[in-house]
Symmetry: C2
Subunit: 223 residues, 2 copies
Amino acid sequence: MKISELSRRTGVPVASIKYFRRQGLLPAGRATAATLAEYGEEHAERLRLIKALTTLGGLSIAATREVLGAVDQAHTSEGALGAISYALPVPVAGQSPADPEEEAEAETAAGAEVAELLADLDWRTPATSPHVQGLTSALKELRRLDAQYAPGELAAYAKLAEAVARLDLERAAGLDDPVALAERAVIVFAICAPVFELLRRLAQENQVRRRVADAGTGPAAPA
Amino acid sequence: MKISELSRRTGVPVASIKYFRRQGLLPAGRATAATLAEYGEEHAERLRLIKALTTLGGLSIAATREVLGAVDQAHTSEGALGAISYALPVPVAGQSPADPEEEAEAETAAGAEVAELLADLDWRTPATSPHVQGLTSALKELRRLDAQYAPGELAAYAKLAEAVARLDLERAAGLDDPVALAERAVIVFAICAPVFELLRRLAQENQVRRRVADAGTGPAAPA
């Protein structure tokens, strides 16, 4: 197909396609004349992934290039998923100012809490995972605020997270092509994470409203 | 207590305390001399909430003033929780460019999907809730990307979100004072939301690693 057709099919403007070409994100088409090139299905697929990474994922051109390299080298679907999972921004917990001594103490305690949790769950995640580091830093913050999880509480959340992750992977199942799977993974990370968080807030809202109604301090809702 | 003691107790610098005073976020202390004031426990508590809202919650002074007003008017714990839940930033799903016609069609379909979900679950959340609107906009984006949830899938996520929300509310239970509860709620929204998301990513990572090991394409992990 010509570049105009490639643009129509993927929803990416011709100028952006040319820019991605110059930046080395998209392989060249097959030259059919001095200024014309023929593009194939693999270009359309890769372009959709580039679009997902740069718009939904909010990645820079340099970061997108790295992810594409990792997806290309992955060969397997699992490898492609892993590359996307490590490349997209890790959720960050809010931070408040602290004194350095308090900080070091909380860091040690949080590190031990995470290590124990992962061992109890038998989750095979290396200490170098950005998610292990992100979790440690969030738990450190909770300790400093004196709002840490009670024993067993974090494990209860983790069990629910495991069930959610199972649904996530089911949604990605059936996609064998690493590039298509990578695109789907970006969508899951960038949109389905906020969706779950919104469902959680809605559920909180519902439960609070029911309590108010049950306590008789608000109008009873129709059954 | 003097302002220096109030600062030490809450970890908020004296200059910031004076600034919050001038901005009307913190009530005046009891004047003991022309330039001295005596502060009480209620000042410390309110200051901790202000700190949580401005640092963890990332709210502006104007937004913080509004939330404090809502918490003050709430009288009940549930009211305070609701004020915090509506005031803190709603999780936002990534967006990609779209043509207006596609947009309108997806919006209608997503709105119907959310309404049906909430009715099926019997969740008492008004259509004006920012979470209902956020969910509609995320589902719209998924439709436009041709990645919408299959029938029943969204309900499966919602059931898990309900279990997570139940844990959230258990964590807030036992706090009867609306100001202390509001502070706890800010912590839950600002830190515990990323914690769950990190647990979900860790669980995904673990499940992908297990699949690779089971498929024999990677080294088998010890049992």
